[in-house]
Amino acid sequence: MYSLSNKLSYQEIFPNKVSIWKLRCNNPLRKTFVRNNLKHHEYDALLKITSEMAKYLYPYIRSILLSLDNYNSRPELWNDFQSRLIDLIKQRFNTESILVKKLVNFENSKNFYSKILLTLAMCQSEDGYDRLKIYLLNL
């Protein structure tokens, strides 16, 4: 993320890795949640970085979506992705929260993860950045 922010010339907003980490800690579901005021240009920069990351990771996102589309014949990639994501959430998020408990449920969270992946796959361009923005505004 830090190298991408440098590539997008966000050195002023994110001078080091810690500044990105601090912003990521604004997520109330994290174990290390800290209430900070997120400024508009920081929010915008995070969205741009996400959009750029989606472009970079598109081949991976696409193959996971393809595995979901053909789940009956090729479920391995999707299952690996979902298990790994659940492991990461368990490590970093507050597992006492009801919302996080729902997220780490393997059976029930499939639709939610597929929606996230589909949104990321659709947000890898200039128009995709607008799509990501509207998705977050309407959460």
């Binding site: 598109y58 696409r62 979506l65 589309d69 053909n70 929606k115 949104t119 796959a121 659709m122």
Partner: protein, 196 residues
Amino acid sequence: MLQNKYTFTQSSAKLEIVGLPDYSKSDGEKKISIISKWKLSIIDQPEIEGSLDHLRLILQTFYKYSSLIILGKYGKLESNLIDINLDEEGLHNLLLKSTKPHIQPLKLKLGNAEFTDVLNCFDQLKQSEDISFNFETITPVYKKHGFNLGNKHKIKNLLYPPLLAFLSIFLITSSLLYLYESNQKRNEDITYKSKL
């Protein structure tokens, strides 16, 4: 006159645009302002081609449908030339209707991966500086959804908590008031009797 041709590719999808520059608008030789032919190829699916109006309508439907997906509204979109909807298996069903008589409509089933490939091809076309195409009427206007009175759950969630709080405060204060009044009356009776 040689026609210009541009190709936009994304994994399984390829969009070809063929056309000419409009010299009356002082276009460069490499530019396309008059689209004469277009073709959309998706791996394992039949090729789609048509007139400029077809392309405009397909782009409009795809963008509108993608905005519905983003907003979590999986509805069905219908128009004169193209219908699109999401089936129970999570696949996007496309029905392309021909303008020529006696030609059966073409049915396509796109997975999420193919759908995003096609959408990214269209995004590339939109961002291309070599092709002049009016996207103003095509791209949906994204806006933040305000408070929707049609959503019953939202009204319930908004009204029930303060109503319940008001009712509980009313019940507690009225019961306390009743106890206070009866206590007051008892005290008055005691003082009256003691005076007697």
